[in-house]
């Protein structure tokens, strides 16, 4: 009891253990898991990050179905900072997908939506913070639909290709038949 009393007295006179946070800075330590940053020029659009992301914070929307053109979108407020996408990225060493050491401040009703090219297309297109969630829900639906469209398009193209191949084959077969018939006729016409 006496020892604890002495310790308490010592604590009374010593400096406080806590930081006076808003007035003194409290920086993140080195190697802190922060926001995911993306570089479109290096991306090979393999969709591995989208596939592995547990909460679905990374989504690719297919904007041009015919040319298979994709746009990367990231929701920093849905991200759980687990580092799985960076582990999955084949171009991570070159800096396509990196985890920075700071996090974005939380999004309030009146706060500004962060604008950064490396955060992907979705965040840069939102103006008002209050419709962020609603817009993200709509976007999720849109991304899903675009994926279905691409699948349909691919199916259609495959069918078309098959039909073309079939037609070509038939035409070839017909030409061959005709050629054979012709040769036979010729053979019958001049039997030496």
């Amino acid at each position: 009891m006496v020892k604890m009393f002495l310790e308490s007295l010592k604590n009374l006179t010593s400096k406080p253990e806590t930081k006076g946070y808003p007035y003194t800075p409290s920086p993140e330590p080195k190697g802190y898991k922060g926001t995911i940053l993306y570089d479109e020029d290096l991306c090979i659009f393999c969709d591995k990050c989208e596939e592995v992301c547990p909460p679905g914070a990374i989504l690719f929307e297919i904007v041009d179905v015919e040319n298979n053109k994709r746009e990367y979108s990231y929701n920093p407020y849905l991200c759980i900072y687990c580092h799985a996408c960076v582990d999955a990225c084949p171009k991570a060493d070159e800096g396509c997908l990196v985890q920075s050491e700071t996090r974005l401040p939380p999004l309030g009703r009146d706060s500004k939506v962060p604008k950064d090219k490396r955060l992907g297309y979705f965040v840069n297109r939102i103006e008002e913070a209050k419709d962020f969630d609603k817009k993200w829900d709509e976007f999720e639906e849109r991304a899903r639909e675009s994926r279905e469209k691409l699948a349909e398009h691919k199916k259609r193209m495959k069918l078309k290709k098959q039909q073309e191949a079939k037609a070509k084959k038939e035409a070839e077969a017909k030409a061959k038949q005709e050629a054979e018939a012709k040769a036979k006729q010729e053979a019958e016409a001049n039997p030496q």
């Binding site: 009891m1 308490s8 802190y32 592995v52 547990p54 900072y81 687990c82 580092h83 799985a84």
Partner: protein, 361 residues
Amino acid sequence: MGNKITVVFGSQHIAIPEPVSFVFQTENEIITDVAVDVGYVHRGIEQAAVTKFKFNNVQYLLARVCGFCSITHASAYIHGVEKLLGVETNKKIDYLRTLVVELDRIHSHMLANGHVAEVCGYENLFMQTIKYREISTEILEIITGNRIQYDYYTIGGVSRDLTLENEKMIRTRLKELREHVLKLMEFFETDYTLGLKTKGVGVVTYEMAKKYNTAGPIARASGLKTDARAEFDFLPYEELGYKMQIRTEGDVWARNMVRFDEVLNSIDICLNVLDGLGEGDIQVKVKGRPKGETFIRVEAPRGECFYYVKGNGTKVMERVRVRVPTYANVPVLKELFVGSKYSDAQAIVLSFDPCLSCTAR
């Protein structure tokens, strides 16, 4: 005969940060009957694990079952899946995993002990304990990049390596922590007023511990030799200097002291890990999808955690079953209350260190 009063303790109560409800029937101060409800935070995680997530994502979901045992849940699941996939990890991965698991145990035990001191009306000891606990959370933040949800385990490896500079820092800070823990132990051991509230209160005898199948520090404080770390070889504890900590008193004080003993042992294990950490890859190649069923038992800070995992060769698991230590300790807790004073109830509950978000999931 005195007055019969019904006292409601929880689901919202200042002594417990988590929702659990005890309804006590009391006669004057003595508790005569108790009803327990543990299911306030059910979130349907087991169902989500087999419907919404692929097998290589489930560990991130399970880590969010509970803040303190986050690494335990992720580790249990991953050990199970690795068993099904036939993955063999190397020495370095095992050592790094052990380091994080033990640091997690340190910070969980320190908080539990501080909490007991707080509900006994000893708030400056609580503050002191939390102050020293900060060392272990800071180390974890530096190793894994996060304070609570580490996401350190991946299937067949760990997410990042330890740098040389960090290793040096961890070693000095752990030695510092050991000094502080020894000091705290002295306070807990010699303090007269804390002793009045904890010594001889809420005694779980050896027979009771055995009969009600208790787990973790509660069982070990009653002299029951049970520890998943000693029984199974999911991590190389034996070569890292693990020793089972046993006390025989079985009261609130003994549970606290067992926790402190384990903290000291964990610090030794962590230092041994740093000594024996060799070179090697931190990720082993993994192929295929889990097929078949298995179970895994790991030692969470609160006791033995059981996982049953079943896969059917597809992307999504067929069954993930979780059984947590707090659930095993609730029956004996109920038995303990009957006959004890209401004023001791808070100290008894918190000496069990209940984790309700694990229990209800």
